[in-house]
């Protein structure tokens, strides 16, 4: 199927994944006001056409809305969690500079992003067990010893049945049998 329409490249997954502006968690709503005619609004129109899909793709939980032909000057108005508002004047700006401005103001910095990436890796690492990870205990893995709260352990593995006296007299498991024991003088 041929790619139809104006600049069909923006309808590819690769283009959407190229977006690099991750908005902060406090930002809930992003609204863009612009006019359909007027040279001063051209940057805003380009921003909505080229960059808004990328922005929405990377921030799925943010509501993004556009308003056309309401006011004579274009602006971006963001609503944050606690009722705060952020107003960005985008009059006579190019779409790249608008995007940079949004990234500087409301975007997550590299440090935060890399910390989040590390946290995600920690979660996906199957070697980790615990409440915040995928599996709480190794007893959940089939083939391992089942949870003693469900299936009682055999008698010899229970702490109360271990004969510590004989256990201490036995040689340690890691000892090499070829090396002779030091003869201890028995009283």
């Amino acid at each position: 199927m041929p790619m139809k329409g104006k600049f069909p490249l923006r309808r590819t997954l690769r283009y959407l994944e190229r977006g690099n502006v991750y908005l902060r968690d406090t930002v809930k709503i992003v609204t863009i006001n612009y006019n359909t005619l007027g040279e001063t609004h051209k940057g805003a129109r380009d921003f909505v056409f080229y960059n808004l899909p990328q922005l929405q793709y990377k921030n799925q939980n943010v509501q993004m809305q556009t308003f056309k032909n309401l006011t004579p000057s274009p602006f971006i108005r963001c609503f944050l969690n606690d009722g705060d508002e952020v107003l960005i004047d985008i009059d006579s700006k190019s779409n790249t500079s608008i995007l940079e401005h949004v990234k500087k103001l409301l975007g997550k910095s590299e440090e935060i992003l890399s910390a989040e990436r590390k946290a995600r890796e920690k979660k996906t690492n199957p070697a980790n067990f615990g409440r915040e990870f995928a599996r709480e205990c190794i007893c959940q893995v089939p083939g391992q010893v089942p949870c003693p709260s469900v299936v009682p352990l055999p008698e010899e593995l229970r702490g109360k049945n271990i004969d510590y006296r004989t256990l201490l007299l036995k040689p340690a498991r890691g000892r090499d049998p070829n090396i002779p024991d030091e003869e201890e003088e028995e009283d």
Partner: protein, 151 residues
């Protein structure tokens, strides 16, 4: 991260027959996986507006209530952002249309009475008392006499 009660949404007020609530239409962009384009998807929300401050067509900020008022009324009107026909530019604070800012003196000569401006930040929206102390909750939501029903 965000607490449950801080969920805010932006929408346009749409006609409804409810006595003390406004029906708000919220549009969100949804990706069509085949065409790979974002399309607006509408959803409706009933938000508490007892004093009828909003008109049909207003752009409104809506906030989720901590406790639902009724089975349907789950949100409340937080703030009117753009009142229909009476838009105020947030940058300059002046009333305007898409072409120019309005001259207030000229408008006073032309129009005797301008529509009342309600931003929704007055006391009518403040939930001073908790839901259970509200006088309205003591009386039944719907009167039991058939003649009082307005359908």
């Amino acid at each position: 991260m965000a607490s449950h009660s801080s969920r805010i949404l932006l929408g346009q007020v749409v006609q409804s027959k409810l006595r003390d609530a406004a029906k708000v239409q919220i549009t969100r962009l949804v990706l069509d996986e085949y065409v790979m384009q974002y399309f607006p998807n509408k959803s409706k929300v009933f938000s508490f507006d007892p004093k009828k401050v909003t008109k049909v067509g207003d752009i409104v900020l809506v906030k989720e209530l901590e406790a639902k008022r009724t089975a349907f009324i789950t949100h409340k009107i937080e703030k009117i952002i753009y009142s229909v026909g009476n838009v105020r530019d947030p940058i300059t604070g002046r009333r305007c249309d898409s072409k120019s800012y309005w001259d207030e003196d000229e408008r006073k000569k032309l129009f005797e009475k301008e529509p009342e401006e309600k931003t929704g930040l007055d006391e009518t929206f403040a939930e001073k008392r908790s839901v259970y102390e509200d006088d309205r909750m003591k009386e039944p939501i719907m009167s039991l006499d058939r003649k009082d029903w307005k359908i």
